[in-house]
């Protein structure tokens, strides 16, 4: 059961990154929109320890506006960046952050 639908605004959590993960620092704390669903995959946090029976989560393609990711972005307002994020790293965007 997926938590987010295409078009939902989501914020990447500022979560603990003590061990392996693949959620880039530049996306954490930032809000984007879900543009595609990906399958359910073994999350990198468990895959890194070769836990083949580890946690599986739905993944999402999240599209960010570049100006929302970078202070003083020098390109255009329409420029975007997409990357894949596991569901556990996402929370619904807060009101007013859309």
């Amino acid at each position: 059961m997926r938590r987010f639908e295409i078009g939902d605004h989501v914020t990447v959590r500022e979560a603990t990154t003590l061990f392996h993960h693949r959620t880039q620092a530049y996306t954490r704390g930032h809000t984007g929109v879900v543009v595609e669903h990906r399958p359910e995959w073994l999350i990198p946090e468990d895959e890194a320890w070769q836990r083949e029976d580890g946690r599986v989560e739905p993944f999402y393609v999240v599209r960010f506006r570049q100006r929302d990711l970078w202070p003083g972005y020098t390109g255009l307002d329409r420029d975007t960046l997409e990357t894949e994020v596991a569901e556990g790293w996402l929370v619904p965007a807060e009101e007013g952050m859309q």
Binding site: R22, T23, Q24, Y26, R38, P39, W41, P44, F59, R63, Q66, W70, T74, G75, L76, R78, D79, T80, L81, E82, T83, E84, A86
Partner: protein, 227 residues
């Protein structure tokens, strides 16, 4: 300082430092050889093959998509499955692809409004079964850090200046998927065959740092650059 080198600076670091991953690769390879899993000859033969795959598979996919709208739709809908139509099986590492457990392949279509470019900021993920080995610059921290932060400037350094009404969309390949850009078919290619079209779909046009042109193929000598 020498007579021909009259300024002082810190020593330039050797570029051939061996990384932890190089050490790990060598250690595992030597253990595998000692254990008899494969021979040094097997390894050499494999590397010779893997390093010459090249971007021909990707070029073929794009050229066919330009000519066949139904193929294009299939390719955009399911890159992994559609690659099999040209003999590249992402699910069979010992087929014509390179070994990879990353078998979700997505083709990103450029349009008059959107230009796509790929990067892997966390390491060097690259769609090897269709593009072969990544170019050195693709793997450098220099490209990986900067193309997400200053994409238009980095593309300009490659000679690609995009119009202001085009959205630049960077794809940071950080999980299981691998991406390849489908450039737009350039003018001046009307009536061309699939082979002719494939020749102008060069590696860099499928990474997204260049656009194909009717008067350019990767086989041409750079000295002959048309202006």
């Amino acid at each position: 300082m020498s007579p021909t080198h009259d300024h002082d600076h810190a020593p330039i670091e050797a570029a051939n430092e061996i990384s932890e991953f190089d050490v790990l690769e060598t250690a595992i390879r030597e253990l595998a050889i000692e254990k008899g899993l494969f021979s040094p000859e097997d390894h050499r033969r494999f590397m010779e093959w893997a390093e010459r795959i090249g971007p021909h598979g990707g070029s073929r996919l794009i050229a066919r998509a330009w000519l066949d709208p139904e193929f294009k739709q299939r390719l955009l809908a399911d890159g992994t499955e559609t690659s099999k139509e040209i003999g590249i099986d992402w699910l069979d590492p010992t087929g014509t692809g390179t070994p990879s457990d990353f078998t979700y392949f997505y083709v990103l279509e450029n349009t008059p409004d959107v230009h796509n470019v790929i990067v892997c900021t966390l390491c060097s993920c690259y769609p090897r079964p269709v593009l072969g080995q990544a170019p050195e610059w693709y793997k450098t921290p220099h490209y990986r850090r900067r193309v997400v932060r200053w994409p238009r400037e980095v593309l300009a350094e490659f000679g690609l200046h995009l119009p202001l009404d085009v959205e630049v969309r960077v794809h940071d390949s950080n999980q299981k998927s691998r991406f390849m850009v489908m450039p737009m078919r350039p003018e001046g290619t009307e009536g061309w065959t699939e082979d002719q079209l494939a020749a102008i779909v060069t590696r860099d046009t499928m990474i997204g740092v260049a656009l194909p042109r009717a008067d350019w193929t990767a086989a041409r000598s750079p000295a002959a650059t048309p202006r």
